[in-house]
């Protein structure tokens, strides 16, 4: 789900309990002074020197700017702003580069100069989320407890259960937070609530859960208002910008299929009478762009409820435009059979990719997507199959 874009990965086995001394296994960075056994670095964890370091941030963590001495050891202090590398890495992730391994070591971090009365914010260890949080905390003195969600954002991790009671409680106990702060309150992002039962966390750790705002940029106002929260801070949005930043990853996801399709067309060109050309490739690319970019961007203004329908509608308009264009430019135009093929296949491709955007949206329910798919999937399969056949026939003869 997600806006907070489902940067999902397979659930892997996570370190259990008291994991603070066992940073999850980006061991190469974290234990520069040890010989690294690349085969199974995890086995080395118990032997690593823990000393009085509460959180091991890793040597390459350029966003650490200092340290705080606490009764139980040294806690790293993080920068309240992003540098060029953070921003560049963030954009790479949006385009799918290193997206599944963009994580930081879980544990306790400090922002500003927090003391025993400072609030505790809980976050995930997906660096894109962590950066979104810390850049909103300039001037604040807070603790940040990063829990191990395996590099997944809070909302998705809560849905999967890795942002959950067990991990939060283990992290609270593992960092010995009770010896660092005098209060017993932790602030969780509201979107973490689908994975957390506040009462259970309190029962098991003694810390009372307060659900803070959805967006990091509201945290300052929330803290300044004595943790009073407005309806708008509690409501998830899906703005034009929210939708736009999610489109690159949708496009990247189509590259493999697209290359395969181009390969098949190239091979077919050896046997067909009328070779597939720029118009065909253009129509296909147009359909993909319509489903992956145009539909998400225009989402709320396109008529209809089903994402597949929205994509199909835009796809149809695009296909009609391309047919008109081809009749203008090519003397013979597209044959009647080919024309029907076009109308069957390209709107359906746009519809398919638009339907997949349900997973990135912030408002589709499981029941709703099932309802949509019951109609869309058979329809699209038929449409793409029949359209492909007609297109082939029109080129063969």
């Amino acid at each position: 789900m997600d806006n907070q874009n489902c940067s999902c990965t397979n659930e892997k086995k996570r370190p259990t309990a008291e994991t603070t001394e066992n940073p999850d296994c980006s061991c190469r960075e974290n234990q520069p002074d040890q010989v690294i056994n690349a085969v199974s670095c995890c086995q080395m964890l118990p032997t690593q020197p823990s000393g009085n370091t509460v959180t091991r941030a890793g040597r390459n963590a350029h966003w650490i700017i200092g340290e705080i001495d606490t009764p139980i050891g040294i806690v790293p202090v993080i920068a309240p702003s992003l540098n060029k590398k953070d921003i560049l890495d963030g954009w790479k992730v949006r385009w799918g580069i290193n997206r599944m391994n963009y994580k930081i070591n879980p544990g306790l971090y400090g922002m500003g100069s927090p003391d025993q009365d400072s609030p505790i914010l809980v976050s995930c260890n997906y660096k894109l989320s962590f950066d979104a949080l810390r850049k909103e905390l300039t001037g604040l003195n807070v603790w940040i407890l990063v829990i191990d969600t395996n590099g997944i954002n809070v909302w998705c991790a809560a849905g999967k259960g890795s942002f959950g009671i067990k991990e939060i409680v283990a992290r609270l106990i593992g960092t010995r937070l009770k010896e660092i702060v005098s209060h017993r309150k932790i602030i969780l992002p509201q979107l973490g609530a689908s994975g957390v039962k506040a009462q259970a966390v309190f029962k098991e750790s003694g810390f009372r859960v307060i659900y803070g705002p959805i967006r990091a940029r509201d945290i300052k106002a929330f803290l300044e208002a004595d943790m009073m929260i407005s309806d708008s801070m509690r409501t998830v949005s899906f703005t034009l910008y929210d939708r736009l930043v999610l489109t690159p990853i949708e496009l990247v996801g189509t590259i493999k299929q697209s290359l395969m399709i181009f390969g098949v067309l190239l091979l077919l060109n050896f046997v067909v009478k009328e070779p597939f050309g720029l118009i065909d490739v253009g129509a296909y690319v147009g359909a993909v762009l319509t489903g992956c970019v145009l539909t998400p961007v225009l989402l709320p203004v396109i008529p209809g409820r089903a994402f597949a329908f929205k994509g199909w509608l835009l796809g149809l308009m695009g296909t009609l435009a391309i047919i008109a264009f081809s009749h203008q430019t090519i003397s013979s135009g597209i044959s009647l059979v080919g024309l029907f093929g076009y109308l069957l296949i390209f709107p359906a491709i746009a519809a398919y990719y638009a339907m997949n955007f349900t997973g990135s949206s912030t408002f589709t329910s499981h029941s709703g997507v099932q309802k949509e798919m019951r109609v869309a999937v058979p329809g699209l399969l038929f449409s793409i199959g029949a359209g492909g056949l007609l297109l082939l026939i029109s080129h063969l003869f």
Partner: protein
């Protein structure tokens, strides 16, 4: 313009007799589905529910039930082929297996 999904499909249910009016559901719901009415919670906008399950999870008296699941077509498609429960696991995850654990 507001993003709205289908009407009358959501599996959300609130058992009024169990509700103690603690406001937990109002606090966790990201779509303002609930409101407080005469000291109890009631469903204000059911069609806005995305079945994330936060309300049911945090309700101290189990007054809320909802069939949770991912609202993600590709996850559901994949589950049809693999037979597993649909879960939020986007592709290319295997590429990250270079790290241990």
């Amino acid at each position: 313009m507001k993003n709205r999904y289908f009407k009358n499909v959501v599996s959300l249910k609130l058992d009024k007799s169990r509700c103690v009016g603690c406001r937990s559901c109002l606090e966790v719901c990201p779509h303002r589905v609930f409101e407080l009415f005469e000291g109890q919670s009631r469903i204000r906008d059911k069609d806005a529910c995305m079945e994330c399950g936060a309300c049911a999870m945090n309700c101290p008296t189990d007054a809320i039930t909802v069939k949770t699941g991912v609202g993600c077509a590709s996850a559901i498609l994949k589950s049809i082929f693999t037979g597993a429960e649909p879960s939020c696991e986007c592709d290319n995850s295997h590429e990250s297996d270079s790290s241990c654990c």
